[in-house]
Symmetry: T
Subunit: 144 residues, 12 copies
Amino acid sequence: MKILVLNGPNLNLLGAREPEVYGDMDLQAFDKAITSRANELGIEVDFRQTNSEDELIGWIHEAFTNKLAVVLNPAAFTHYSYALRDACAAHTSAGNKLIEVHISNPHAREEFRQTSVISAVATGVIAGFGLDSYLLAIEQLARG
Amino acid sequence: MKILVLNGPNLNLLGAREPEVYGDMDLQAFDKAITSRANELGIEVDFRQTNSEDELIGWIHEAFTNKLAVVLNPAAFTHYSYALRDACAAHTSAGNKLIEVHISNPHAREEFRQTSVISAVATGVIAGFGLDSYLLAIEQLARG
Amino acid sequence: MKILVLNGPNLNLLGAREPEVYGDMDLQAFDKAITSRANELGIEVDFRQTNSEDELIGWIHEAFTNKLAVVLNPAAFTHYSYALRDACAAHTSAGNKLIEVHISNPHAREEFRQTSVISAVATGVIAGFGLDSYLLAIEQLARG
Amino acid sequence: MKILVLNGPNLNLLGAREPEVYGDMDLQAFDKAITSRANELGIEVDFRQTNSEDELIGWIHEAFTNKLAVVLNPAAFTHYSYALRDACAAHTSAGNKLIEVHISNPHAREEFRQTSVISAVATGVIAGFGLDSYLLAIEQLARG
Amino acid sequence: MKILVLNGPNLNLLGAREPEVYGDMDLQAFDKAITSRANELGIEVDFRQTNSEDELIGWIHEAFTNKLAVVLNPAAFTHYSYALRDACAAHTSAGNKLIEVHISNPHAREEFRQTSVISAVATGVIAGFGLDSYLLAIEQLARG
Amino acid sequence: MKILVLNGPNLNLLGAREPEVYGDMDLQAFDKAITSRANELGIEVDFRQTNSEDELIGWIHEAFTNKLAVVLNPAAFTHYSYALRDACAAHTSAGNKLIEVHISNPHAREEFRQTSVISAVATGVIAGFGLDSYLLAIEQLARG
Amino acid sequence: MKILVLNGPNLNLLGAREPEVYGDMDLQAFDKAITSRANELGIEVDFRQTNSEDELIGWIHEAFTNKLAVVLNPAAFTHYSYALRDACAAHTSAGNKLIEVHISNPHAREEFRQTSVISAVATGVIAGFGLDSYLLAIEQLARG
Amino acid sequence: MKILVLNGPNLNLLGAREPEVYGDMDLQAFDKAITSRANELGIEVDFRQTNSEDELIGWIHEAFTNKLAVVLNPAAFTHYSYALRDACAAHTSAGNKLIEVHISNPHAREEFRQTSVISAVATGVIAGFGLDSYLLAIEQLARG
Amino acid sequence: MKILVLNGPNLNLLGAREPEVYGDMDLQAFDKAITSRANELGIEVDFRQTNSEDELIGWIHEAFTNKLAVVLNPAAFTHYSYALRDACAAHTSAGNKLIEVHISNPHAREEFRQTSVISAVATGVIAGFGLDSYLLAIEQLARG
Amino acid sequence: MKILVLNGPNLNLLGAREPEVYGDMDLQAFDKAITSRANELGIEVDFRQTNSEDELIGWIHEAFTNKLAVVLNPAAFTHYSYALRDACAAHTSAGNKLIEVHISNPHAREEFRQTSVISAVATGVIAGFGLDSYLLAIEQLARG
Amino acid sequence: MKILVLNGPNLNLLGAREPEVYGDMDLQAFDKAITSRANELGIEVDFRQTNSEDELIGWIHEAFTNKLAVVLNPAAFTHYSYALRDACAAHTSAGNKLIEVHISNPHAREEFRQTSVISAVATGVIAGFGLDSYLLAIEQLARG
Amino acid sequence: MKILVLNGPNLNLLGAREPEVYGDMDLQAFDKAITSRANELGIEVDFRQTNSEDELIGWIHEAFTNKLAVVLNPAAFTHYSYALRDACAAHTSAGNKLIEVHISNPHAREEFRQTSVISAVATGVIAGFGLDSYLLAIEQLARG
């Protein structure tokens, strides 16, 4: 099984940006740890990051076309990108899996972070466990 | 007369995505039917689609610069892209035409689809007629 | 094919009332232009206006009973008449067509004009093209 | 004892309109069943329907003048007709009875159906029992 | 000068309905007192009441056509009749006068009575003085 | 047929608490009158009261398991107990009956009493008739 | 009879400030016209203006103590001064008269001008007639 | 390591209640699967269910006192039980772990299910994976 | 005089839970200090705590039946328990005293803590003084 | 110890204004009773009243400069004076005490009285005990 | 050129009040720095502070009468003083300049500080630069 | 010192678009004037414009990495781009400077322009001075 692990805007700053919120591992370390765990479970991971809504939508379309499961950290797009939502809805309404993950717990932060326009069309949501949010998502996909 | 027919995010999935909402014609079929009808009316059509807000804004600017009428299906950008709105406002406040079209009737769907940040700066709105929403817009532009 | 073209309150003042918003053609001119275009398309038009919610509901019921397509400009009833909405819902949920039209673009006017209690139960919506909003609706019905 | 059983807009379509919501009995059958049950209880029923807010208000005034109890299904007027509310308030604040009935349960339907401008000035409310909503109201009036 | 004094729904119950709010004079007494005062000021009064939104709109249209000043007590229509508002707007935006009057002070009553959809298009508003609200309006029109 | 008549918090104070709102009959008198009327109709009544959300949920579960119809006065739980709602939803979505009753008319009281989280999952609602609200519910269940 | 005519903040700029809204008469001219009209009606007027909430409250207290009727143009205090409201409430709840007047029609202006915290405790409200708003108030007080 | 797996109201109906939402496994099967997986990971599980807010709070206190990690499915308490929230806050603010789990994805259901008063004080949230929501939580606790 | 001092959910954790908010005295110390001060004032105190809404309501009923004054710290029930409110309303509307106390100042904390459904039916409110909030309440009851 | 007892707008009318809400003691009697009680406790009281926001802010500044504890009845300023709030915040954030008192219970009165912009920056709040609200505040300050 | 630099309530406490928000320079130091910089630019500054809305309005009127540019730090009046707004609107709508300045960035502080009733009628807004907010405003006025 | 001056969507149309709002200078003229003024102050300016949220975020990241101060006109992104906000927050929370500028005063325009999702994480805000908004920002950065 191959899956896409997709990361939204500003996650390229991981480790450098507000470490008290996001921790001090950088995105390369995330990629490595996730890929390593996925490989143990027999899953091939394509790990990507973009600040571009457009590119992120394209990746969801790629997953849709190829029926690949997706682990998505939509970052700030969570709160307003209905375009991303529509892409995710196309994907999951066709029976594909898409797990929304968050590094920190959005409900414990600013008011605006408590609105997700993505969650309603995600298969499930995992939030608050740092890197482990991704690992749990991978393990869930491995569970089948 | 030459016009731009511009399509926003996820419309490249037309025919493949949620056919009970969007029908089963694909975007190429839309292009062909619209171009064919436009040609009958002596209108040249430049039919485009993008998932990129940036690219869509650029196309509106191109229409603005060249004083071309626009048929715009803003798709999910309808609900939040004030940047697209400002581009449309520049276009129509200069006396150019821009018709907002929707394939399905947004008012008959989710709550969030009932807010349009574009409509207030469009020349007019046509929604709910599938492909025919575009054809009506073309015919209206042909009417002059 | 016979259709009803129904006009709500204050539209009898067309041409006399706020011409900068509604133009200076009067309702008789609208009737004539619409009937003429409809006849070209082989459609018989019954063009009516009323200030009465009750009478307008009755006309929708007449269309419902006779399975006639409707072009409806609900005027100010758009914003509050749930009774009219229920009549329209009875009509369209039985598979009949009802196109909501507006002369001006309500989204470009006062805040309260942006709420439509009718749109969710209409087949489609056409707004902002003056008389042409009606002609487009007729042409769409002619398209079948 | 004589009472008025008053029905608001679109209820003349009963049996023909959205039978999955309103059932397939028509209004004549309602009249017959209600009158029959009322007669058993020694109550004379005047059963009426109108799509007209004005006529409905007039009937409430008639009840007010003659101190007749009322069973009222305000249908869509429930949600916005403050004019009907004022008529009902005049009636009940003078010590007369007015029971608001609904065929279906408005709380199990669209959001807007959950607001009643009538309930606050009704003697009581019975909703969700189809024809039986009326019969219960009649029986309650018979109870005295 | 001739003016129309127009009264909305339930005002025919004046004197009989909730006298602690509306006083115990009936509408005929209002007509008489208003006409008498108007005649002193050289004004001819046409005093009318209706429970019908439709009829009331028609009377505003009559005033519009004949450029007559209007004293309007919209009663419960105050709070929701955008159709009546549009009629009043047509009248006043053409430079005619329309004074909105209320017998009691709506701000001292229920929450919903504090919203007026009419006031924004009225020449002015006089509320809270019982019969005198009308007399003040007449005197203001007499002032020219 | 056996049914449960379930009463929520503070109803044990009936007759002693705010008699101008709730009347001066106590809960034992309610039980007696309801049981008596039910017996006449061949219905066995199990009449209970609790201040405990937990116990009330347990009783709904008991009804669910045994497919017993329920007459429920949720009292103040009406306004916030989503746990009770979920129990009722389990019951009615399985085709069982549950009638929500209220002694007084909540719409004629404080603002917060106008929100019911229970009504949307009840079979029907009867409010405002004092003890008779229960009797009507019993009679409706007897009607089958 | 002696009355106080009290004017709130910025009314000292009358005639100089935004004449398209407030006209070009200055406050001295208002005083003169109002006093003149009042004297004709046998009323002594004490005409005052202040930008100070404190001073305005003191004047209402003075009226309260001496049981003088008040004509009050609260100007911008209309929209937020609960302190002024409490003073007015003390005055009118003791049976004294206080008429709220406005030169322009606040409902035809900005959104925030549509909220009055004063109206609910005023005897009545007169708005939209320029200087005549005051004269009407004086005449109403003269009427007794 | 010993942990508490705590289940809120109506979860005792699992398997019997709305299986299209909650699946057809019952709570005993959940207990067995969860305990089995936990044991593999060297974790002792104390699996409990209650309809009582009070009892659930007591269990959180027990975990707090004994510094046990908690997996909590608050069910309908999610949406309003600030008392449960305060218990959870006491627990997590002392450095203990509490993972909020949901069987179905609340964001894909009714509006009211999108508000969680618990999430802001939980360590993390896992929703939408049925039984696997619990297993993921267990695995995350095992991860340390 | 005997009074009840009643404490709501999670107050059994006092001293152990978030001491920066609630201080480090435990509930036994509160009981002792309050009882000691009450005894000085000739008041017998029955000091209780519960996490159960049901039990708390029962205690208010006990006070109601025996006409005992109550000092109530409703803790998190403050924000949603309309059932507790109804119990308190029964108590105070019968002329009994009930003082709502809070250890910390809810207005200086999270948004949701600023809504109290209890305050409107309490005799008075004392908040923000730690243990002293109770002592002040006792002293006020002693004052008679 | 010396403290300031500060009273906001309209409290000079105490005893004369709405005695059913505020009682019939006048402010001089309040001063006397409060001073007398304070003296017993070895506290010197400076008791003042003003209708002026400006003067009240100045008094808070005086307390701030001299590190005096304050008992403040902000009266209607409670609901909107952010300027007074900022003064109080300066005072309490520097570690000084300020107790907000109210004669009546604002939560049992009009909706707007339930918002306090002061409470969040007060040390504590005491409301609903008439004169005793002040005495309790004094006693609390005496407690140290 | 002469300008007024006007400071609203509590700014006299600058340097003494919450230095982590407002810095530790006092108002005299602000005056000196601003005057010094203004003099370099050939501008005469009249620097004032008041806690009085009334006095501040008077100063704006003075600027209006003398056509002086204004630098205004409205402090807490920013959030509610429509009276101050009306004074500012009179000033700027006559073509005079008024720059709103804030020492700290209100958007980074409490929710209520994000509403400004002044900004809509100011020439421009400068916020967040401490003393430099004033200097920038002076320099902008110098620029002409 | 080198700084980035970054311009958001549609600002490439400056001079051509709605000149009554934005003036008739084009962006090149802005660049030239800003660079010229910056050079005088010894600041090197890199002036850029993009319609792409993605590119703009990248530029903020570039500034973050190189610790460059930023002058940002986010244009329509101001109102919804939480992705841009997160980039800005990363930048300023690391102690770098970012000044938000606007050519026109957003508070004097449409309602939606009054919400900024950027301001809370900006160092400061300057709005309403046309080109000078940028010059002031440059001068402030020069001030150090």
